[in-house]
Symmetry: D2
Subunit: 428 residues, 4 copies
C-alpha cells in the first residue's frame, strides 16, 4: 500500500501543537465500520486501537446506530443537563437490570460530566468529603486524567509537568509486580500506615486501575487486588477503581474487578460506556457514600442523552447474557497464542507480553522499537499505539466485536511489523 | 395546566443525590423542538433556559439535525481522538473562514476535551506554563467549572467546599460594579501589582467572564473590559476570557468580548459551539502562546466528530453574515422593554434587571422570590432558572432562534409568575 | 570622623552572602552601652536602630546586666526546655502581676521557641486548629517572619521569592491608609466575607501589626484597629496582633494595641521581651483557645532561662508604674517636633513623617535618598536603617531609655544627613 | 528520695497546656552544674537528657561560664543582628580553624536565626532556590522542627496534625533498617527516581539525620549514608544532613557524618553549638550553593553574640585536638556494656538497644514500659526521656563531659528502674 501525503494544511496552520495521534498516523480519516477505518484517499486500516478503548463494540456499531438515528429522528432530548428524561430512565433501568443487580452491586449512579476526568474528579471529591482528609494514594504509572485533580494522581512526569503548579495531596505506591515480586505486596504501604511516625498523611482513598493501560499494560493479579481491598478496609480508606479503560468488558467481565471478587467503594466508568464513542461517564459508589448536596458537583454536558440511548442499547444487546464475556476470553486466547510466537520468534526473544481479555501489551527490551513497530504497522494498514512511561510497549486494544479472522489478520500484520523492525546486527 | 407527579422512581432510587435541575422541574422530559420541550405526559414547556446556554440554536435544530443524521448514516468517524478527520477539517475551515478571519483573530485552536471545564483547565495550564507562575486572578462570583483547576478560580463557596482540599493559587478581585461604582475600577488590583510589598503572588493570568451567568447576570461594561485588558498588558499577565456561556452569539456578536474591542490572549468556548447540545469545547490562543508539547494535554473525547459536524453546520448557517447578531440585538430590545414593566409594575419596584443580547437577569430584593417565580413559571409552562450567590436572580436564556411571538409569550408568562408571587403585605 | 575600612576578611570569605546589615555599616562592632555602640577601632556610634526594636532598654542595660550575671554566677538553669524552673516562675509571676492583671488581660502564656517567627508560627497553627480552616488574612506590607508559615503572611515580594515554593493559604487586604482614605475601611474585606460567591476561602484568623515596622512605619489608627476587631468578631475570625516589634513599650503603652482599647484573641511578643537582646518570645491567647495537646508544638530553646531572668528584671524595673509610658510619649513629642523641621526645611518638602511613641519613619519622595541618608548618618556616627517595600523610609527606633540630649544629638545628625544628601537641582 | 509535690501553681494557671516535660518531671528546677541539676527543694538529679542534646559540655560548663561572664562584664555586643562583631569573628575563625579546615570541609556559614528549625527552614529554602524544584524527600520517623517548612518533612503524625493545614511538598522514604534489612537499600527510592511514570515529583533535596533522635535512636549505617550520598549525586538532588541533635560530638566526631566519610551539600547545626545551652544555629553549605541575595533570609536573633562567645570557647577548649572524640567513644563503650546486661537480664530480654558515641536508645517490646522506666528513674534521681513514634524507646543523652563514675551511677539507676518496672507475670 502506498501512502500519499495527505493535505494536512488546516491542521498544521490552525490546530495547536498539542495534537499528537495525527502525527503518528498521517492520514485524514473519513469513515469507519466495525474494526475498519478508512481515510479520504480510500485506504482502509484495521483498527487495533478502538478509540483508546472507547469503541469496544466497534466503529458505528449498526445496532447502536439504528437506536441513535431513531432517537435523533424523533427529536428526543439531546441536551438534558441533569433533568429527568426518558432516555436517562431507560439507561438507568438497563444499567440496574443488566449490570448492577445480577452482580449484586449496590451502587448509586452519578453523572459527573461526560469525560473520564470528570468522573475521577468527582470520585476524589467525594472520597475527600466523606473522609475529611486531603491525601489520596495512587500507584506508579497510573493514568487518571488531565484536569488538576486527576493529574495529581497520575504518574507520568511529562503530563504532570504540564500542570504548571506543584501537584500535591497524592502519594504514589508501587503497583503490582513493580519489584518483580521480590518485595512482599504492600510491605511499604502498610508499614507507612501503621507507623505513626512515617510522615504519610493519612489517605482518604486509594485509586487504582486493575490493568494500567497508559502505564504499559501492567496487570494486577486478583490476589493483589484483594489484598489492596483488605488493606483499605483495615485502614479506613476508600477504594476507588478507575475502570474507565478496562471496564465495559475489555478484560472479559463487565467490570474488570469482578475477577478478583472485590467490591470497590467507588468506581469510575467512561470510554465505552456509551458504546458508540460518544462522551459519557459515570461515577458509581456505595449508597452510604452518597453525601452530595444537590448541585454540589455539576457540569453542562452531564446529560448527553444520545449517549444514554446508545449506552442502553449496548447493555441490552451485549450484556443481557454471558455471551460477550465468553467471547472476549476466547478471543484473548487467540491473541495470547499469537503473541507467544511473536515475542519468542519474530522479536527474537527481545520482547515480553502480558494482558487479559482483549487488552494486551508487548514490551520491547529495545524500547524505541515499540514506536517503530507501530509506524511499520500503520504502513501495513494496522492501527496500533504504544504506551508505558517510555513508549516501550505496543498496546493491542481491538474491538470486542472483532472477528477471529480480523484478529488473525491483524496479528499477522503485527508479526510482520515486528520482523520488519529487527535491527540488522552490527558487523553483518 | 395540571401537573401529574411523574414516575421518578429509578431516579430516586438509583441516581445520586447530587442531581439538581430535576428537583425544580419534576417532569420526565422526552422530546424537544426549537424553543419547546415536551414531557412524557405530553405537557409542552417553553424553554427560556436553553441548556444553560448550550442550545443557542434551539433544541434539535432541523438544519443541524439533517447534517448530523447524514453524517451518522454514512458512517462518518464518530470517535476520533485527535486524529485528523474530514469532519474536523471542515469544522476548522469553517471556524477560520466564518469566525476568526473576518474578525482578524489570529488564534490557534486546541481541542482540550469536550466540556467547558476541560477548556478552562487547559487554558490555566497553558498560562502557567508560558509565564512560569502559579497564581491566577479571578473575579468575585466567577464560575469556571467543577474540576479542581477550574474550581479554584470559581467564587461560589458551596461549590468550593465540595473540593475537599483547600483551593489555592487563585485570588479574587472585584468584578465590575462590585462597589456600585463608588471605587475606581482596578484600584485595588493595580495597587497590589505595583506594590512590591503587597503580598500578592504575581499572577500568570487573569480569567474573566464578560457577563457572569452563574454569578447573577453581572454585566461588565466594555470600558471595564478594555481597562482590564490594558492592565494585563502593562503587568505582563495573560488575559483569559471564559466565553463558554456568553460566546457563540449569546450577547449578539459571536464572541462576547467583541463589543469591547479587545483581543484576549486565551479564549475558552464550549456550550453552544456544537450548536446541537453535543459535548464540545475549544481553547483558543495567540499563536505565540502555542508552546504545548504534542500530547502534553489530552483527553479521550476531544475528537467528538458528530459535534464537529453540527458545529460547522451552525457556523455556516448562522454566522456567514451579520444577520444573527442583528436579530439577537433586536430580540434583546424586545426583552428589555418587557422587563421594564415587569420590574416596575408587576414586581412593584422590588426587582432590577440587567443584560445584553439574549441574556437577562432579574434580581429580586426579596431574594427567595426568584425561586418562587421560577417554580410558578414552571407550573405555567415556562422553564426558567435562577442564578447568583443566593439564587436571587431569575435568568433568561432563550434560544437565539426564538421567534418574537414565543418571546412575547414567555415574557407574559414571566410577568404573570412575578405577579402571582407577590406577597400579600402584612396587615392587609 | 574618618572611617578606616575594617578587616572583614573572615566575614567575606566564610559568612554567607545572605548577610546584610554588615554591608551598610562596614565596621566590626565590639562593645555597647545604652544608646551607644563602639567598633574595634574605637569609633562610637549613637544607635537609633536598637537591634530592630530588640533593645528597648538600651544595650547591656546595667540593671538587667546585674541580674543576668548574678544568675549565671550562681549556676541558675540556663537551658530548661519547658521544665518548670525558678526563673520561669519568676518571669510568669512578674508578667501576670505587672503586665496582664493591671490591664485585665486574661491570656495564657506559651513559650513557642525564642524567636519571633516561632511565635507567629504557633499563633497561626493554633488559630487554624481552633477554627478548622486553613486561610489567614494578612495586610499589605506586613512582615511576620521568615519560616514558611510566617512568610506566607508576609508581603515583601523579595522575601517571599526566597521560599522556593508557592506561598498559599494567605490573602492580603489593604492596611490602613492604603488608598489615602479615599475608600471606606474594610469595604473590600467585609464585602468578600459577606458574599457567598466572592471566592475568598473563609479565614481562620486575621494577623495584623498596629504599626508596620518593616513595611515602612505605617501607622494604623485606633479606630481602624477597633473596626478590624469588630469585623473579626462579627465574622468569627480570630484576631492576631503581631506585637513583636511594636510591643514592649515601643509606642508608649506596653502593648501597642492598648491605645485602641481592643483585646486581640492571640498576641505574639518577642524582640524586647527579654530586655537584654536575648532570644525569647511569647504567644499569648485567650484561655478558651488553649486547646494545645501537651507537646503538640515544641522547640529546643523555648526555655532560655537567662532571658527569663532579664525579662522579669525589665518588667519589674520599668513597668511597675506608668513612668515608662509617659516618658516614651514625651520623647516621641521631641522627635515629632524635630521631624517637622527636617521634612519641611532640610528635605525641602521632599519627605513626610509618621509614627508614635518612639517609632518614627521619614518617607522620601525621592526613594533612593532614604538609603543615602542612612549611609551619610553612619559616616556622621549615627546608626539608622531604612524600611518600606522600596527602602524609601528612614526608620527611627531609639532605645526607650535614650536621654533627651542623646535624642537631640541624633536628630541633629539626622538633619545634617538629610541636608547633605540633597541633590543639586539640575541646571544650577 | 521523697518527692514533695512542688508548688506549680503559676505554671498551671498561666502557662499553656502545650507544656510537656514539666509534666513528666514534676519539680521546679533551680540550679545545675555539669551532669547534675537541682530543684528548689534541694533534690539533685543526674541528668542523662542534657537539654535534648543541647548541653554536650554539661550544665553551666565553668570554662564557658568564665568566657560568658567576662564578655557580659565588659559590655560586649549582646544583640548584633548580622552586623560584623568581634565575637562573631572570633567564632568564625575558631570554626574555620578548629572544625572546617582540619576536616577539609569547604562550607560557607549562614546564621539563619538561633533555633534548629530556623536552620532547617533556611536549608530547605536554599535547596529549592538552587534546584528550582519544590519537592523534598525525608525519612520515616524524621524530626526536623515545628515551623511549617520543617514540620512538612517531619514524620510524627501528632506533630503534623498541629499544622492546621495539609503538609505538602515532602515525601517520606524508608530510613535504614526500616524493613529489618529484608529489602535492598533505596530500592523503592531509586526506582521512583528512574521511572518517568512513577508519580514522584523530582526532589530538590533529601534531608536526613544520621541517627534519628526523636524518631527512636534509629542509627543509619555508614554504608547506607554513603549509598544515599551517591544516590543524591547521581540524581542531581542536594543532600542535607540535619546534624542538630547528633552533631557537636554527640556520636564521637564533631559531625556525625564524618564516620561515613561523606560531605553533605548542606548541614544544619544547632543545640550544642553554643556549648552553653544558648540559642544558636548554623546552616553550612558548599560555596557554590551560596546564591542568597543579601537579606533574602533574615531573623532578629541571628546574631546572639553571647552564644558566639561560648561557642568559640567550646570549640577551642574541646576540639583543638582529638581528645573529646576518643573520650566519647570510650564512654560509649561503657554504656554499651551496661546496656547488654540491662536488656538481657534486667529487662528479661524484653528490650533491645542501639546507639553510638553517647547517644543510646533502649526499645521496649512492651511499649508503655519505656515511659514507666523514665518515671521510675525520676523518682530515683535520674532524668531520662523517651522517644520513638509511640514513646517506646528510653533515650540516653548524657553530657559528653560526664565522668565514668557518673555514667556508672546513672546506668545502675537505669538498671534498677528497668527491674522495678517489670510486670509480675499473670498467674503468679
Amino acid at each position: 500500500m502506498t501512502i500519499t501525503p495527505p493535505a494536512l494544511s488546516v491542521f498544521e496552520t490552525t490546530e495547536s501543537e498539542v495534537r499528537s495521534y495525527c502525527r503518528g498516523w498521517p492520514a485524514v480519516f473519513d469513515r469507519a465500520q466495525g474494526s475498519h477505518i478508512t481515510d479520504e484517499d480510500g485506504h482502509t486500516y484495521l483498527d487495533f486501537f478502538a478509540g483508546a478503548g472507547s469503541l469496544n463494540y466497534g466503529h458505528n456499531n449498526p445496532v447502536l446506530k439504528r437506536a441513535l438515528i431513531d432517537y435523533i429522528e424523533r427529536d428526543g432530548i439531546t441536551h438534558g443537563l441533569d433533568m429527568a428524561t426518558s432516555a436517562k430512565r431507560a439507561f438507568l433501568e438497563s444499567f440496574q437490570n443488566v449490570i448492577l443487580r445480577p452482580r449484586d452491586l449496590p451502587y448509586k449512579v452519578m453523572f459527573p460530566g461526560p469525560t473520564g476526568t470528570n468522573a475521577v474528579e468527582s470520585a476524589l471529591k467525594l472520597a475527600r468529603k466523606v473522609k475529611n482528609r486531603e491525601s489520596v494514594v495512587s500507584f506508579t504509572n497510573a493514568f487518571h486524567g488531565m484536569s488538576l485533580g486527576s493529574l495529581a494522581v497520575t504518574g507520568n512526569a511529562f503530563k504532570r509537568a504540564g500542570a504548571g503548579i506543584p501537584l500535591v495531596h497524592g502519594t504514589p505506591m508501587p503497583f503490582d509486580h513493580y519489584f518483580d515480586d521480590k518485595v512482599p505486596d504492600f510491605l511499604w504501604f502498610e508499614r507507612l500506615l501503621e507507623d505513626r511516625g512515617s510522615g504519610l498523611n493519612k489517605p482518604a482513598a486509594v485509586i487504582v486501575e486493575t490493568i494500567q493501560g497508559e502505564g504499559g499494560i501492567n496487570v494486577a493479579r486478583p490476589e493483589w487486588l484483594r489484598a489492596l481491598s483488605d488493606l483499605c478496609h483495615r485502614h479506613d480508606m476508600l477504594l476507588i477503581v478507575d475502570d474507565i479503560q478496562m471496564g465495559c468488558g475489555r478484560t472479559g467481565p463487565f467490570f474488570s474487578f469482578e475477577e478478583a471478587g472485590i467490591v470497590p467503594d467507588i468506581v469510575t466508568v467512561s470510554k465505552s460506556i456509551s458504546g458508540y464513542g460518544l462522551p459519557m461517564s459515570l461515577c458509581l459508589f456505595r449508597p452510604e457514600l452518597d453525601v452530595w448536596e444537590p448541585g454540589e458537583h455539576n457540569g453542562t454536558f452531564r446529560g448527553n442523552n444520545p449517549a444514554f440511548v446508545t449506552a442502553a442499547a449496548a447493555l441490552n444487546t451485549y450484556w443481557a447474557d454471558g455471551q460477550m464475556e465468553k467471547q472476549t476470553l476466547a478471543r484473548g486466547e487467540q491473541v495470547e497464542q499469537a503473541l507467544v510466537g511473536i515475542c519468542s520468534e519474530s522479536a527474537g526473544g527481545g520482547a515480553e507480553f502480558r494482558g487479559r481479555g482483549l487488552v494486551w501489551g508487548i514490551e520491547f527490551h529495545d524500547k524505541p522499537r515499540a514506536t517503530a513497530v507501530c509506524r511499520r504497522a500503520f504502513e501495513l494498514g494496522l492501527l496500533l499505539e504504544t504506551s508505558g512511561p517510555e513508549s516501550e510497549v505496543v498496546k493491542l486494544l481491538p474491538a470486542l466485536t472483532v472477528t477471529p479472522e480480523e484478529l488473525d489478520e491483524g496479528l499477522r500484520t503485527l508479526d510482520r511489523a515486528v520482523r520488519d523492525t529487527a535491527r540488522v546486527p552490527a558487523g553483518v
